[in-house]
Symmetry: C2
Subunit: 466 residues, 2 copies
């Protein structure tokens, strides 16, 4: 008895110690800000690429296009432009937000800019009065999607900007760099102030920063869109690229990262590009910075193509449904936000084949996840679902509350079948969402989630079987 | 008698021989084409400089401005723009044609371009719908002036063009140069096709040429404006810069030149810049190419300033009337075409002080030349004016017919006073117009013009006293 009491006391002391440690650790855990939380919970977004070369006869080739001005910008003439059709299609896919390339690498702006003359104002089309960004954000709001804006400022084939730096030499280069930086900052202000609240502002390739002679965009976004996800520059990335354009991240994928930004190259932060961007794909479990992963891929990325920009006769490169589902499981199902690249055609419409596939995809995801067999939640080490009868299970979903940081470090999913508990999966990261699709369905009468290691108190907001 | 006959025969033979030589020489004399003839007969034009930096707070400084983009092009906002007021003022000055800087060194286009987005289309002002070039040519036609257009393509601070060449390196530079050349050629086509018949197209600094990697503008002008004076590129100059921006040329000033163009530097044609552009100031009496001289000066070129562009508080730099008259005598009066630089202000009006001075100038020229004391014409070696009484004479005007070339090489003006002939002036070139203003008026009963040397048959269209 004395031994037993002794043992209990020691055990209680140990637990208290562990909890204190855990509590202390939890206190310094990085946490998402409001926009990061919203972005992660959104899970699925789309990014519409639209630029002058959609209208040219040649195949888009990024390395050539970014240094070659489009010969005649008046080729931009989408006779049947219907931005609402784009957005409806994104909604059909299940996207909760949608982003548009307000500028891409030509430098041509799809809005009424007062600082960048190379914009819709220059066109014969709609008498120079169109504002596709405005139409787009309005369409998003109409259909309940959050609007975001992408600004390509790293390249500008029209003005001669190469990796943020104005091409040239001597005093003219210096003066034009100053002008370019001010122009970009002006565009950022326009984007931040003319279109209401934005969900994400995406600076492609990172926005570099003033310390490298590049535009200083972060203070502008923070001033005028404090609740907007900032992606990204050398100083800050509120989300990170997931290390590939495959639409997938590696498992485990942590929402935390080693550095406050992913920078724009090895010179800024070490090791990011090592092993084919392994650090971006996984994140850093011990990272001090909250920086959830984005998995991006163009819908037209199948079978030897990888097309962010529309070209005729590319329909066979639209991902088949199965591939899209695989992407979904390996992005959303691995605690990252999936952003699918869509590209309207030269009529101004998302092509019928893309629309159809997105609808199929959205419907399939909905059908797979709208009716769980059973679901529970809680903060206990073991969460068990007792089923009334032997039930066939295809997939598991786990979600932890990430508002106070990502806390689960190791877990197991077990199921009771034929009189004994079996392991269905041993995992590490959960984060916003973990989905395990079984290779073969199982039949069980009970399932349980066992949290093996966690840092601080955790909260499972869903443990569900489907 | 025999001797006399012999002498007559020899003399006739000699005359015949001389005439043959003269005739032969006259045959190969360079002659003006129709646009050159019209341009020389016009005698006086104006050039309106108008660009973004009229609206900026800093003093215009060409070497800095041409490499520094204007920070905010929306400063261009001439609230009281009245192009007709400009043109009326030019007419008041006696100008027969007027030119406008459709683009200057910023690259900003004062017209509705479909190839250069950096244009009035980009502005908030007038909702991007203004076309100052169009308004200008219409105003010219309304008031009976011939419209011309100046295109600055040598520098473009916005696009980073330095002496026709796009700043930069490698493939991007090559591609942007191709783009720039095509853009310029596109603008030239727009200018040549959208505004009716033009009197002069002025490429500042010469337009270089495709053999140097620069835009190929000459064929476009020749195709679409065959009757327009082309000024100028490396291949052709239908007029030449008079070698200074003083508004004056040197005497004698021949309408012929050594080369078909003045090029854009020593590398193209030898000796042009030698001795402070002496060759341009005088021309080449034996030159094989017809290339009349242009004397240009900004109206605001007095007393330590030389301002093509408006700045506030520069009224004291408007040439006094006497200086303008001196310019007139040393340009128009020396067989060159005077082009005065005018610059409207940031209201869009030619300032009152400029307007007043131009009116004074026009009135004074008119008063000095509208009522000749006596005038004659003809093709005799000696043209004499017999006056009914002793008359005070202030100035002489001589004009030769230049349609078949400039033929007079040496002449004297003589007057009969106090019973004998006196020399008033010994001259060389006449050309379209020679004016001799006497230092002190003379009193005479007869005056005569003696042609000492001429190449081929000449025709004096006016010998007048004033």
């Amino acid at each position: 008895m004395k031994n037993k009491i002794h043992f209990v006391v020691i055990r209680l002391l140990m637990i208290a110690l562990m909890m204190r440690i855990s509590f202390a650790q939890a206190q310094i855990l990085p946490k998402p800000n409001a926009q990061q939380l919203a972005w992660q919970k959104a899970e699925l977004g789309v990014l519409f690429h639209y630029d002058l070369h959609v209208f040219d006869p040649s195949k888009y080739a990024q390395s050539a296009n970014r240094i070659t001005p489009v010969a005649d910008y008046n080729i931009f003439n989408p006779g049947s432009l219907d931005v609402e059709q784009w957005v409806r299609s994104a909604k059909d896919a299940g996207a909760k937000f949608a982003i548009i390339t307000a500028t891409h690498e030509t430098g041509f702006a799809l809005f009424q800019s007062n600082v960048n003359p190379y914009s819709l104002k220059a066109l014969k089309w709609k008498d120079g009065k169109a504002d596709i960004v405005k139409d787009f954000v309005e369409a998003c709001r109409k259909y309940g999607l959050k609007p975001g804006i992408y600004l390509g400022i790293r390249w500008n084939s029209f003005l001669g900007v190469h990796d943020f730096i104005v091409d040239g030499t001597g005093e003219m280069q210096k003066k034009r760099q100053q002008y370019y930086n001010a122009m970009v900052e002006g565009m950022v202000k326009e984007i931040c102030t003319n279109y209401g609240d934005l969900f994400e502002i995406w600076f492609d390739g990172g926005a570099s920063g003033p310390e490298k002679g590049a535009p200083d965009v972060l203070p502008i976004v923070k001033k005028y869109q404090p609740n907007c996800l900032f992606y990204h520059n050398d100083q800050l990335a509120e989300a990170r690229w997931g290390g590939s354009e495959s639409g997938k991240v590696s498992y485990p994928c942590w929402s935390t990262f080693t550095y406050p930004s992913t920078g724009s190259g090895e010179s800024t932060y070490k090791g990011i590009s090592a092993n084919n961007f392994e650090l971006l794909k996984h994140g850093d479990v011990n990272g001090k910075y909250w920086m959830p992963a984005m998995a991006d891929a163009p819908l037209r990325g199948y079978n030897g193509r990888h097309e962010w920009f529309w070209e005729p006769n590319d329909e066979q490169h639209i991902f088949p449904l199965d591939d899209l589902l695989d992407i979904y499981y390996k992005s959303v199902g691995r605690n990252s936000t999936l952003i699918l690249g869509l590209t309207p055609d030269n009529r101004g419409l998302l092509p019928e084949a893309d629309v159809k596939r997105l609808k199929e995809f959205g419907a399939e995801i909905k059908s797979r996840f709208e009716n769980p067999i059973a679901v529970t939640s809680g903060s206990k080490k073991v969460l068990q679902l007792n089923l009334s009868k032997a039930t066939t299970i295809k997939q598991f979903v786990i979600q932890e509350e990430i508002a106070d940081g990502q806390r689960i470090r190791s877990f197991s999913i077990e199921y009771f079948s034929n009189g004994k508990w079996e392991k269905a999966f041993n995992g590490f990261s959960v984060g916003n969402k973990f989905i395990h699709l079984l290779e073969k369905p199982i039949t069980a009468t009970k399932v349980r989630l066992v949290i093996n290691v966690a840092v601080g108190a955790f909260q499972i907001t869903e443990f569900g079987i489907y």
